[in-house]
């Protein structure tokens, strides 16, 4: 088991006052809170900070921890046999946290606050579980089974909190949107009575062609200058198969065409937007160059007119 330097984690001196520790915690908690933070390892850092604060904010736990003396962080460590006698620990603080073995060996898993402290008002029913998954857009467009591997904290037979992997094969409901949850009844924690439910919050992985906004889907469609200028019928992919799309004459780059009801098949279904992009043919042979030159000769066109030059 590795020794943890809680003072270092919090970035405070060993003689820091309670107020300084609280201040340091709040600052770090805001920085690394998984719901707020954009830092890469936010969740791990947040847990570490929460654990350090759990110890340092409590005068008893802090005094007991200080008694261990100083060790290098990460050093192999066993608490002395008589350690912790004469201290009474009361659990309070962040629940649902996975504390380190180091913490558990010092304060025991029962000092972990979790359910007890926050109050379990419904002991007859297992806890609900919550998870987040990244889903391919196709799963929502067409529905279908997907396999998710979820990590769930669980209390093992010895009362320790362990992280358990679970693989679930889930029928994804057609038309689900980012931010929505799939509810799987009875797949939460088993309790004394009925098991809890599992809620899986969905977000979409980036798609090669499509962008998703709520229930609407959009795509950039390249067209030739003459297709935009003269109008044309072109073949375009859409979330539910290719269609022939009419480009109106006089279209320009950025023109947005709406295909009603061809977005995500939610209720009501979203729309599909095609945003035109003008692709220029390369002028890499004499024929192409001559064509461009002929166009330039015929068209009095100043693309910079709006710039006043």
């Amino acid at each position: 088991m590795e020794f943890k330097d809680y003072y270092k984690v919090m970035g405070v001196a060993r003689d820091a006052t309670e107020a300084q520790i609280k201040q340091a915690y709040r600052k770090l908690a805001r920085k690394y809170h998984p719901d707020v933070s954009k830092e890469k390892d936010a969740e791990a850092r947040f847990k570490e900070v929460g654990e350090a604060y759990e110890v340092l904010k409590s005068p008893e736990k802090r005094a007991a921890y200080d008694q261990l003396g100083q060790h290098r962080p990460g050093e192999e460590f066993r608490p002395p046999p008589d350690w912790g006698s004469g201290f009474e620990f009361s659990g309070a603080g962040p629940g649902n946290s996975t504390y380190s073995d180091f913490f558990d060996s010092l304060f025991g898993a029962q000092a972990r606050s979790g359910r007890g402290a926050r109050g379990d008002f419904h002991p007859d029913r297992g806890e609900d579980h919550h998870a987040k998954v990244l889903l391919d857009l196709e799963a929502s467009l067409h529905g279908g089974a997907r396999t998710f591997t979820l990590r769930m904290p669980e209390i093992d037979d010895e009362g320790r909190l362990v992280s358990k992997e679970r693989t679930l094969n889930v029928q994804v409901p057609k038309g689900i949107l980012a931010g929505q949850q799939i509810r799987l009844a009875g797949q939460g924690a088993s309790g004394a009575g009925t098991p809890g439910d599992l809620y899986i919050e969905v977000d979409f992985a980036p798609h090669a062609l499509y962008r998703v906004e709520g229930r609407d889907v959009s795509m950039e469609l390249p067209v030739a200058p003459w297709e935009a200028a003269l109008g044309a019928t072109v073949t375009t992919p859409t979330p539910n198969g290719t269609v022939d799309l009419k480009i109106p004459p006089g279209s320009h780059a950025g023109s947005k065409l709406r295909l009603k009801g061809r977005g995500i098949p939610a209720t009501p279904p979203g729309d599909f937007y095609v945003v035109l992009q003008i692709a220029l043919p390369p002028a890499n042979d004499d024929k192409a160059k001559a064509a461009y030159a002929a166009l330039a000769a015929v068209l009095p066109f100043n693309p910079r007119a709006s710039l006043g030059v």
Binding site: D35, V36, E127, A145, Q171, Q181, I182, R183
Partner: protein
Amino acid sequence: MSPSDEPALTGTIFDQSATLSIKDLSRMCNVEERHIVEFVEEGVLNVVEVRSEWHFTGDALRRARLAVRLERDLELNLAGVALALDLIEELQQLRRELEAKR
């Protein structure tokens, strides 16, 4: 490898159409009903009143759980939670718009 030989679990979309009572929400967030009332009073949660009974949508669950986490982990008061939630949602919206423009 085939995803799994077991039959796929069938879930339901839990969203605006789901209806939760204050008791459901209190259980799901593991807080007392009184606390849910405070969330409503502070404008953290929206509620629909049907025949003098409160109904919450499935979206309220996500919001309430986030509120509980912020409150607990950041030691925020209710007004702070309400503000943080609004700002987080605004931020998410802006990020989505930025992503769409890229």
